[in-house]
């Protein structure tokens, strides 16, 4: 009964720093020991302490009402917070630099494709219309492909923005 009570309490106090947890367990151990020494019924003594859950809730309430004690748990959290954000920053920057390269690549194609009808005009000017039919056909096709890619990218942008937002939100529940 006593061992059950203390181990259950210890389990519920895992949010406390180790030394404070030990101190509390010691207090309860002392209480039970004294009750036993005074010849009280052990079950009654433990029952009148209340449930481990009740005690743990009380401790959480006490700890949150008094901020300076929070520093121990808070310290751990903020370290976690720093590491987490550092990781997020790395993921975000790698992801976006990669994207930037892909964008540059794709945009250079779009630009070249869009300009191909202009080049076709030069072709017509120098070689005559009948000589340039094939190139006119190719340049029109490329121009349309460029428009198509442009539209796809526009939709894709929203998707990428969403990914970025998700990375930023990543793991905030831990802290």
């Amino acid at each position: 009964m006593k061992e059950n009570f203390l181990s259950e309490l210890e389990k519920r106090l895992s949010f406390l720093p180790e030394n404070e947890k030990r101190e509390i367990i010691k207090d309860f151990n002392e209480h039970i020991q004294i009750g036993k020494y005074l010849g009280k019924d052990l079950n009654t003594v433990i029952k009148s302490l209340g449930s481990p859950e009740e005690i743990a809730n009380e401790l959480i309430a006490e700890y949150s009402s008094y901020s300076p004690i929070n520093y121990t748990t808070h310290d751990k959290l903020s370290l976690k917070f720093i590491v987490l954000n550092y990781l997020k920053l790395m993921i975000l920057s790698t992801f976006n630099v990669f994207l930037l390269l892909v964008y540059l690549f794709v945009w250079s194609f779009i630009l070249a494709f869009l300009l191909s009808p202009v080049i076709a005009l030069f072709f017509i000017y120098y070689n005559g219309f009948s000589q340039s039919l094939f190139f006119i056909f190719v340049s029109m096709t490329l121009f349309n492909i460029a428009l198509l890619i442009f539209r796809l990218i526009k939709n894709f942008n929203r998707y990428l923005l969403d990914i970025n937002r998700k990375i930023v939100k990543l793991g905030t529940y831990i802290c």
Binding site: I24, E30, S48, I55, E58, Y66
Partner: protein, 110 residues
């Protein structure tokens, strides 16, 4: 009784009892639980917090009768805090009494 109210009052009671004489947890718990209905275990989180805040000091005393006990002693800071709490409590009870009296007068005049 309302849980928040009880908690505030419990704090005053604990401070007054330890001001009167140094006490160990079990002693305090059995004294208080004979007057106020509480789970005795919830006293320890309160004691721990008040100690952290510097209102109590603790020391261990070996006993010929039973295990060593952790005693709580009130500090000057704790005394100041207690005085402030009592002043607040008196102000609150004064204003509540005013409203209770008002109610009673109204009932008498009916």
């Amino acid at each position: 009784m309302n849980a928040q109210l009880k908690k505030g009052l419990l704090e005053i009671c604990v401070l007054i009892m330890i001001e009167n004489s140094d006490k160990y947890g079990y002693e305090l718990a059995s004294n208080i639980s004979s007057k106020i209905e509480i789970a005795e275990g919830t006293l320890y989180p309160l004691l721990s917090r008040l100690t952290k805040q510097g209102y109590f000091e603790t020391y261990i005393l070996e006993s010929n009768e039973g295990p060593p006990r952790k005693y709580y002693r009130i500090t000057q800071k704790g005394l100041d805090y207690l005085n402030q709490l009592i002043k607040e409590w008196e102000e609150i009870s004064e204003s509540i009494n005013y409203f209770i009296n008002l109610r009673e007068k109204r009932r008498e005049s009916l």
